[in-house]
Symmetry: C2
Subunit: 407 residues, 2 copies
Amino acid sequence: MSAEPSRRGFLGAALGTAGVLAAGGGGYGVARATASASSPGGHAEPVPFYGEHQAGIATPAQDRLALAAFDVTSRDVQALRAMLGAWSAAAARMAAGEPVGPVETVPQAPPIDTGEALGLEPARLTVTVGFGPSLFDNRFGLAARRPAALVDLPAFPGDVLDPNRSGGDLCVQACSNDPQVTFHVIRNFARIARGTAVLRWTQLGFGRTSSTSSSQATPRNLMGFKDGTNNIKAENAEEVDRFVWVGGETDQVWMRGGSYLVVRRIRMLIESWDADYLADQENVFGRRKESGAPFTRAHEFDPVDLSKIPPDAHIRLAAPRANGGQKILRRGYSYTDGIDQVTGQLDAGLLFIAYQNDPRRQFVPIQQRLAANDALNEYIKHTGSGLFAVPPGVREVGDWFGKALFG
Amino acid sequence: MSAEPSRRGFLGAALGTAGVLAAGGGGYGVARATASASSPGGHAEPVPFYGEHQAGIATPAQDRLALAAFDVTSRDVQALRAMLGAWSAAAARMAAGEPVGPVETVPQAPPIDTGEALGLEPARLTVTVGFGPSLFDNRFGLAARRPAALVDLPAFPGDVLDPNRSGGDLCVQACSNDPQVTFHVIRNFARIARGTAVLRWTQLGFGRTSSTSSSQATPRNLMGFKDGTNNIKAENAEEVDRFVWVGGETDQVWMRGGSYLVVRRIRMLIESWDADYLADQENVFGRRKESGAPFTRAHEFDPVDLSKIPPDAHIRLAAPRANGGQKILRRGYSYTDGIDQVTGQLDAGLLFIAYQNDPRRQFVPIQQRLAANDALNEYIKHTGSGLFAVPPGVREVGDWFGKALFG
């Protein structure tokens, strides 16, 4: 078997229909709709899939998220490589608004694409793939390639993590402005993975809880507060370079140009919060609820005077000045998952997602400080967790997610 | 106690902040945003809340759904009346893009509105309320007012109903083009209900699975097929009058101008479906997958020749000609609820919602025929169910959901 399976073989092997596809090239006869009243994404330009960095990190946040973690079930590293290659080819197509493959091929075979996104705009779709610490065990010979920054996250005070919402060998973050388009990615990735990897957990999200672009108004989280006022902005190349992209300092050259993704499923105790007094809610955050202005200031973007903020307020403890100047790029989404059958209360909150170039300097110490002191802790529970090494971008046709790791 | 609590008292009583509110009137000092980059709903005109019929039935389908069923825990019919009044006042405000009440009142009280929708457009929000069969027991003296058409749905072959996803004394359907706006309704209704009713189950949905307006392209369901081609269209007043609105034939005058809502949570066995051959998939529906054209026809909207459709195909069994000419107004949404922890497979499908003026003539016989014969049954499971009597519209300030029922 060659060290690098041919791209033509990727989807064919994964889907059991070798020869049907010519991956990477042009259309499949399924015309991409040029206008569709049913596409909430409208006619925004597609986000380029190929590039130095993976899309979906410094990309201004879209409105919808589908996140999935997979566990690799195969022990054959070639099967894993083939799957990652097929995922890359499929992601490139979907980001351009194309189906993964033809729906109508021959009657006596399954359609290559599941079809529910036919006629929908790509709606600024991005697909971002990362590798969890568990991938670097002895199954695939990758132990020596595990980056030092890809730590096992420590237990934080107050964690009540559900293993069915945590970890995973692989992570896929799909974001777009259309929930059907985002789900289509996870479903087709799961299908391509069949025989090689299985879904471990998934989470849908909506709304932006953090503004990641200067042109975006700061959205509100499900506690009703503006969230992300002082987030790193995608346009601020200096901060993105300094805090997000892995550079020459890494011990693993395959991670240069990549980043580290931390995901935390943070359930909000909605009913308790909603019964809390306005003054207490504002003391918890250190901001006014309606305007978003920090205490003693008039407007949302006025500089924070930390001396006027309660010592256990969230924005005081999370501020870069309280954390040695460290920042993270937050890219979280709200979630609502119905009712907790044990308590009868709403299971809703924040799927916290943050990108950074070294969680040992960034997420871990920030979260240790928050977990120990944050007034917000009374109203939240961390119920899921993951850390993933996100390799650099897929550069061109023929490249694929993590090719340098397996090279 | 007066037979009709004052509207001023509704929200105050429900929220424990009597006197803060002047319900029904103008703004609360929280300005409604006139432009917001963060609102996926854009600047569409709000859907009027007051009217002859409740909005959210013949309203062209919005893109997002939050459905909630409540159980009444109080035995005090006045508390139930007060809650329905407060719900009506709150729904009117939210449909107009206003918060339920002020966020900033006094520091030592909880905000009246939870705040997460501040600054968002109403995004064509509609709020539709219905009453389940269980409300008409002997708790509230309503037994004699139960409409004959509000039957206990029979067990259908293949049902695997989860009681935690079925039934309920009350049902609230919130639809808009913004998931944060739709969730805001359910959350604030639950808050207003505190002490009177509790959430029984909730379900989020996305995408339209049925086109309910002639100006809407037919969306695709999660099986990848166009769904709703021959649905009743909101603009077709004759069909809506004939099949949807309750008229003079009802045994309960309070239901005139109302309708009956059937909800079924239909899980799709995604993995089995995706492995099925194209020809089999098309035989199940009786349509081509890509074009949506019925068999032997070229285009989606070409008339169906039932003689060319397999006898167990879904569109043949569901067609009005197979059901004595009966039609229903479908208004369903796709759902994805992560992974079934028992099987590791995706829990995704259709939250089927249909409106009609007599389920005894419409949904029940249609579903009996489908449950017995539909080729689709191999790939779906009905996991939740409900039937609700949806009273006519709230006519004006001072009226409320079901006032004539309790009058």
